[in-house]
Symmetry: C2
């Protein structure tokens, strides 16, 4: 019997997160104050985040110890399994080896609890009573609800209205873990009201929901804010994925040539790739790390590198990023987690320095890959995860055409149990691909008044 899964025991859960900031040849430029556009220090973030997370955000320590209590709660679902995709390899007839790390085994169904748990932990330790956040498709909101509940912290989630209405079960999941969920834009915040004044039927967006959640944290003494991607500390927490994956591949006697992951704000991609990129930066390895974004939201492949806001209203600090402009509204593809205008500062710097790669794929090709995957490997993936599968298949085919065998690793970041309405649309032939015109991108970027780099 071939070994399909490579597993680790609880005692093999890594003890430290990896902080790529330590090893980057060029560090990201500093965040700027949203009003003064001057560099800000850590203290400016204090209204939003607990001090320990702010320290992590600016840390250049190579390794940050994972607290015992966090490791203990990680063990609810970690270590996650790594699979050799024998059946998928057979189906596409490749000579390459394909591995995937499966993060869908967490109670919330994705990799997001990897950072939700430590974020809730550090908040609880500093006496925070409530955390506000936003969620698009619901994966981050579910994960933070799950984590806050474990620490007895109140959780308030602003959920993009179109998802709130279209994905009612994600909302119930959050309620089951005790969280309060509002459709965004809401009447509860100044940011929400200002959007609704202009457009009472606004379907909402991640950028708007961030504005609402940040406002709640900024205006309430005992409330902090939490973000599920983009920021340095979030990306660092996710390196638990790649650190486990390294151990697992070592057990399999293998090492990747190519690492592939879907790209929304960067946490998925950073999580699986950074620990291997360290080998590139320090030990002369040459792993190719490829971030896969949807063609309809092409910040890495067609965006501009400059300062931009993380939200729509302009409340967050300005970060150096590849962006389509914070007012860019992506087409309504079925991969809500990837519909975000910008990329994290670290990822953006790595891309600018040519240390990682980016590509984009249309949603129909992604769903084709997802259905093929479900019919070969068994698991029905989240639409976001399908982007990684589609690129892994592309890379395997390229290798076959070149007559070589590659070792390809991708991050299967979540299951699709809450996304079956989109599979229904795909199977019925009702999905379309969206093209983004160069004029639309240029217009959105031209509207920016934020500093260029």
């Amino acid at each position: 019997m071939k070994q399909r899964k490579i597993t680790l025991t609880e005692s093999e859960i890594p003890t430290h997160w990896y902080n790529i900031m330590a090893d980057m040849p060029n560090k990201p430029l500093p965040p700027l104050h949203p009003a003064t556009q001057q560099p800000i220090g850590p203290e400016a973030l204090a209204p939003l985040f607990p001090m320990e997370l702010i320290k992590q955000e600016v840390s250049t320590d190579q390794w940050v110890e994972i607290p015992d209590e966090v490791r203990n709660l990680y063990s609810i679902w970690r270590p996650t399994p790594m699979f050799r995709a024998y059946e998928l390899e057979k189906a596409i007839g490749t000579k390459s080896k394909i591995y995937y790390k499966y993060e869908g085994v967490s109670p919330a169904g994705s990799h997001k609890p990897n950072t939700a748990i430590p974020q809730a932990y550090y908040n609880a330790k500093e006496g925070v009573k409530k955390i506000s956040t936003e969620t698009g498709a619901g994966q981050w909101g579910s994960s933070l609800s799950f984590a806050c509940n474990l620490f007895g912290i109140e959780c308030e989630v602003f959920m993009v209205k179109v998802s709130y209405e279209g994905k009612p079960y994600r909302k119930v999941m959050m309620n089951t873990w005790g969280a309060k969920v509002h459709a965004s834009p809401s009447q509860l915040t100044q940011a929400g009201r200002s959007i609704l004044e202009k457009d009472p039927n606004s379907p909402g967006s991640l950028g708007i929901a961030i504005s609402e959640a940040v406002e709640v944290a900024a205006t309430n003494e005992d409330t902090k804010y939490a973000l599920g991607s983009v920021l340095n500390h979030v990306l660092m927490h996710q390196t638990i994925i790649g650190l486990e994956a390294k151990k697992q591949l070592e057990k399999a006697g293998d090492y990747p040539d190519i690492i592939v992951a879907p790209f929304g704000g960067g946490s998925n991609f950073a999580g699986i790739s950074f620990p291997f990129l360290q080998d590139n930066l320090l030990h002369g390895k040459k792993v190719r790390a490829i971030a896969v974004e949807p063609t309809s939201c092409p910040k890495l492949t067609r965006g501009v590198f400059r300062y931009d806001f993380g939200d729509t209203v302009g409340m967050t600090p300005l970060l150096p990023m590849y962006t389509l402009g914070h007012n860019f509204i992506p087409s309504p593809i079925h991969a809500g987690g990837l519909r975000y205008h910008g990329a994290g500062a670290i990822i953006s710097q790595l891309l600018r320095d040519g240390l990682i790669e980016a590509t984009s794929i249309n949603q129909i090709e992604c769903f084709e890959a997802g259905v093929l995957f479900s019919r070969t490997e068994g698991i029905i993936p989240a639409p976001e995860a399908n982007h990684g599968i589609a690129e892994a298949i592309r890379q395997a085919k390229i290798a076959d055409e070149e007559g070589v065998s590659k070792t390809i690793l991708f991050n299967l970041c979540g299951h699709g149990n809450f996304d079956l309405a989109s599979y229904e649309q795909f199977l019925a032939g009702n999905l379309v691909d969206f093209e983004v015109s160069q004029a639309d991108i240029e217009k959105s970027i031209a509207e920016l008044t934020t500093p260029t780099i």
Copy 2:
């Protein structure tokens, strides 16, 4: 750090299923022909099942080897983890130790693929092109769709109409794995048409859907039928759960005093308990095995032991069982997998011989237990699984009152990702408990014309 999960490697997946028939002091009475009411031999089942499964159905071999191909496919999600429920124990303040085996990690989300995979395998090996089946809440239909797809067998599922309409995503899941799904009763079968003539708005029932699926198999040369519970071979396949659990508890240096599992037709309960019951039967152990049924469908606790049909129309062989009568319609509780009128022959014989126990719990207590579980252990359980949790909590409290510490093991048979509508109802305070009157039970049983025992 306390060890939360006890895991096994793929090489530790058991090599044989355990067949309790070998060790039962009294074997179940033989099945009878539905028309003649005379005992039938294995050959009478040939239109419905492949020969290898019929052999397993009547086998008294203690151990049946698991084919390599089945073990290989089991490894998609097996071995499943066992957890020590530290957080639940703390929340209820018990001195007892509570363990649970988690079967929700399968791609279909429950324990059902444990038998779907071997059933599809033996059918494929004997050249069967299509399998028909029924499904209630959708767990069995999903699992068989998943398994058939892996062997290139067509799968046709009759889904109880009320679930077909109320749980659309389960249907899409089956479609994603390539299965055809019909709302039952349908116009596609004589059985379905006869029900619809009497009641065009029939919401359907598991018994009706079985009639339809059996008819399709009986009247098509290249089509066989598959059942997700009740039958001996199905229960045997599920012993993979308990066999793994034994190894895991051994690693933890423990052994259960009490085993608890939800009860629908018996496969869940048999799966976790039979390998331990062998120790009772042969090695003088005294594990208490408790089957937990919903108060609104109390076949084990309030039914009669006699021959009855497995379906509504009366097409299946007559089996010796605890039954509420095959026309009994349970109240509409949110645990579709437990709404079945009868119990498997082996389970019924074990209960009659006092070798296992049964109890019933109302749905509100079950949902309370499920929400407590999700807020302590993290996983949101299926409503069926909540029955096991509720009884485990009851047993822990009884032990505390007696001033003793017990080791309690329950089977967490599936996650609740497709059942969040019922959690929504519970959290909103909209659920009610249903009482079944003694008169209704007696009336349903009095209608039976099947042989008494």
